[in-house]
C-alpha cells in the first residue's frame, strides 16, 4: 500500500520539483536573453510578448564567434580521439592483465575531478617558460583537456568493457587469427559503440564548458568567447549559453538513437518490440 502511494504520488511529485528546479532558471535565462523586454518589466502577463532571436544573430555575426567555435570543435575532436586511443587499449589491458591495478587506475583518473582546474593551471604556469614552443599552439590545450575529461571518459569506457565478456571475446578473436590491434579494432571497438559515443559526448561537454585553462593560456575557445561576449552584450551571451545547452541536449538524443542495437531498431521499425 505504502509502495503504491509512493509510486503514484510521491515519485511524480519529486520528479516535478526536480524538473522545476532545473527548468525554471533556464526559462528565466531564456526570457532575459530572447525577450525584448526590460528585466524589471518581466511579468507572467507579458510572457508571450516581444520574443526575438536578434541577440543570437548579433552574436553569430561577431568576427570571433566562428573562429572560437571552430577551435573548440577542433579541440573536442582532438581530445576525444586522443582519449580513445589512450584509454581503450589501456583499460582493455588493465581488465585482462592487471585486474588488481584497476582500483588504483580508477583512483588516479578521478584526481582531475577532485583537484580543481586551477591546480593544473598552476602547474602549467611552472612549465610555461620551458614549453612556449608547445603552449603557443591553440591545440596545446588538448592534453590538458584529455586529463580534465579523464574522470568521465575512463568511466564510460570502463563500464562498457565491464558489460562485455572481454576475456572470452578477445581470446575467441585471437584464436581466429586476429592480433591485438585488429582485435581491438574489429571486436572491442564495435562492441563499445555506446560507451565510445558517450565518451565522445562527455569530451565535447568538457571542452565546451572549460574556461579556466583556456583563459589563462589566452586561447579564444568558445567558452572564453562566450565569457567575453557576455561582458559586451549580456543578452547575446546568455542566448549563446542557451543555444549551446540545446545543441548538447540534441547531441545526447542523437547518441541515444544511434547507440541503440541494430536489431532493436529493426524491431521498432517493424512495429514489434
Amino acid at each position: 500500500m505504502r509502495g503504491r502511494v509512493f509510486g503514484r504520488v510521491v515519485a511524480p511529485l519529486i520528479l516535478l520539483v526536480a524538473a522545476a528546479f532545473f527548468i525554471l532558471p533556464l526559462f528565466a535565462m531564456m526570457r532575459f536573453a530572447l525577450q525584448n523586454v526590460q528585466v524589471i518589466d518581466l511579468r507572467w502577463s507579458n510572457l508571450f510578448d516581444k520574443w526575438s532571436l536578434a541577440p543570437l544573430w548579433s552574436a553569430f555575426s561577431d568576427d570571433q564567434f566562428g573562429r572560437a567555435l571552430t577551435l573548440s570543435l577542433k579541440l573536442a575532436f582532438g581530445t576525444g580521439l586522443i582519449s580513445l586511443l589512450l584509454l581503450v587499449p589501456t583499460i582493455v589491458w588493465v581488465h585482462l592483465r592487471l585486474p588488481r591495478a584497476r582500483s588504483t587506475v580508477e583512483f588516479l583518473t578521478i584526481l582531475p575531478y577532485v583537484i580543481p582546474a586551477i591546480g593544473m593551471v598552476a602547474g602549467i604556469m611552472v612549465i610555461k617558460p620551458h614549453a612556449r614552443w608547445f603552449l603557443n599552439s591553440d591545440l596545446s590545450l588538448i592534453p590538458f583537456y584529455v586529463v580534465l575529461a579523464l574522470p568521465f571518459t575512463f568511466r564510460s569506457i570502463d563500464s562498457g568493457l565491464k558489460a562485455l565478456d572481454l576475456r572470452t571475446l578477445v581470446e575467441a578473436s585471437r584464436s581466429l587469427g586476429y592480433g591485438w590491434i585488429r582485435t581491438i579494432v574489429h571486436v572491442i571497438v564495435p562492441n563499445l559503440r555506446t560507451a565510445i559515443l558517450s565518451c565522445l559526448f562527455l569530451t565535447v561537454a568538457v571542452v565546451l564548458g572549460e574556461y579556466t585553462i583556456a583563459d589563462v593560456l589566452l586561447k579564444r575557445t568558445f567558452p572564453a568567447f562566450m565569457g567575453e561576449y557576455r561582458g559586451s552584450d549580456p543578452k547575446g551571451g546568455y542566448g549563446l549559453a542557451i543555444l549551446s545547452l540545446v545543441v548538447t541536449t540534441l547531441i545526447f538524443m542523437i547518441i541515444g538513437l544511434v547507440s541503440r542495437p541494430k536489431s532493436a531498431r529493426r524491431r521498432r521499425a517493424r512495429g514489434t518490440i
Binding site: L164, D165, T168, L169, E171, A172, S173, R174, S175, L176, G177, Y178, G179, R182, H186, V187, P190, N191, R193, P261, K262, S263
Partner: protein, 321 residues
C-alpha cells in the same frame, strides 16, 4: 590432420602448481578428453596449447614444430569456449566468416565455406540472426562452426556444454562427435563431466593436481583404473574392507539378494534412487557399519527402505588399496 604433443610442461600460478611434468601426445585425428576436478590443470593445459598462457618449462609442439615462439593468433587452432563467445555485434554468418576474413580468401570462397559450416551444424536457416536471438545450444553450435570454418589443425573445446541444460547437452555431444568424425580434426576436449568424456573420446586423460593419472580408452579408464583416484573420480565406487585390504568395487559389480543368507554381506536398505533403466540402492552393511551402493537393473529389485538384504560380488573388484 596434425598431432599435438605436450612434453614435460610445467606451469605455476604463484605458489599453486597448475601443471607438473605434463606429457601427452594426441595423434592426428584423435579426440582426446582431459577429465578432472576443478583446479586440476586441465584448462591450463588447453590454454597453453592455444597460446593464451605461457608454460614455465617444457614444450608444446604441433606436427613436430615447437609452438612456444608462435603467438595465439598464428597457431591455427579453433577454440570453443565455456561461455558463449559469439561477437554480439555480428550476425551468425558474419561470426562464422570472422576468421576467414583475416585469411585473405575470396569472398565467394568465404560465402561457400560459411554455408557449408552452417549446414554441418544444422543452422542454415539462422544466418541473419544475432547471438542474442539464439538459444545457448544454437550459440555453441555457431561457435563450433566458426572454429571449424578456418580449417584448424587442432580443435580445442573448453567445457563447451557446461552452460547448457541436460537435453541440449546430450544433443550437442552427439553432434560434436559426429562433426569431429566427419572432419577428422585433432581435438582436445576439456571437461569435468565424466559421462561426456567417456561418451565422446577416443582416449581420456584423467588429471589430478596438475598430473595425468591415467591416459587410456574410456573402457580402460573405467574398468582398469590405474590409481584409486581414477577409480573414485570416474564412475561411482564402493570401498569395502576385506582380507586383501580395502577393495574398490563398482556398484554394478555387486548383486543384491532378498534372501539374507545368499550373499556375502548382510545389511538394511537405506534408500533407493530410480533412474529409469536402472535403480541405485543404498545398503548399510551390518558387520562393517558401511554404506554401499548397488546398481540394479530396474524391475529386478525395487529397494524398499528398511528391507533386510544380502549382497554378493558379481564381478571382480577394480583395485585393492
Amino acid at each position: 590432420m596434425t598431432s599435438l604433443e605436450f612434453s614435460s610442461v610445467k606451469k605455476c600460478f604463484g605458489p599453486t602448481v597448475a601443471l607438473a611434468d605434463f606429457d601427452l601426445t594426441i595423434a592426428p585425428g584423435e579426440f582426446i578428453s582431459l577429465l578432472g576436478p576443478s583446479g586440476c590443470g586441465k584448462t591450463t593445459a588447453l590454454r597453453i596449447a592455444a597460446g593464451f598462457e605461457r608454460a614455465d618449462a617444457g614444450t608444446v609442439s604441433l606436427g613436430g614444430h615447437d609452438l612456444s615462439p608462435i603467438p595465439a593468433h598464428k597457431r591455427n587452432m579453433g577454440m570453443v569456449f565455456q561461455s558463449y563467445s559469439l561477437f554480439p555485434n555480428l550476425d551468425v554468418r558474419k561470426n562464422v566468416a570472422f576468421g576467414l576474413k583475416t585469411r585473405r580468401l575470396e569472398s565467394s570462397v568465404i560465402v561457400r565455406r560459411v554455408d557449408e559450416m552452417l549446414e554441418i551444424v544444422q543452422l542454415s536457416g539462422l544466418g541473419d540472426r544475432f547471438p542474442h536471438q539464439l538459444s545457448g545450444g544454437q550459440q555453441q553450435r555457431v561457435a563450433l562452426a566458426r572454429a571449424l570454418a578456418v580449417r584448424p589443425e587442432v580443435l580445442l573445446l573448453d567445457e563447451p556444454m557446461s552452460a547448457l541444460d541436460a537435453r541440449v547437452r546430450s544433443t550437442l555431444r552427439d553432434e560434436i562427435k559426429r562433426i569431429q568424425r566427419d572432419t577428422g580434426v585433432t581435438t582436445l576436449f576439456v571437461t569435468h563431466d565424466q559421462d561426456e568424456a567417456l561418451a565422446m573420446s577416443d582416449r581420456v586423460g584423467v588429471m589430478s593436481e596438475g598430473r595425468l593419472e591415467q591416459v587410456g580408452s574410456p573402457h580402460e579408464v573405467y574398468q582398469s583404473p590405474a590409481s584409486p583416484f581414477v577409480a573414485r573420480f570416474v564412475g561411482s565406487i564402493n570401498e569395502i574392507p576385506s582380507e586383501q585390504g580395502t577393495i574398490l568395487v563398482r556398484p554394478e559389480a555387486l548383486t543384491i539378494h532378498e534372501n539374507v543368507h545368499h550373499g556375502k554381506w548382510i545389511g538394511t536398505v537405506v534408500a533407493s534412487t530410480f533412474q529409469g533403466p536402472s535403480t541405485l540402492v543404498d545398503v548399510r552393511l551390518d558387520t562393517l557399519d558401511l554404506l554401499v551402493r548397488v546398481h540394479t537393473p530396474t524391475g529386478t529389485y525395487d529397494g524398499v527402505a528398511g528391507s533386510r538384504v544380502s549382497i554378493s560380488m558379481a564381478g571382480d573388484h577394480l583395485l585393492a588399496v
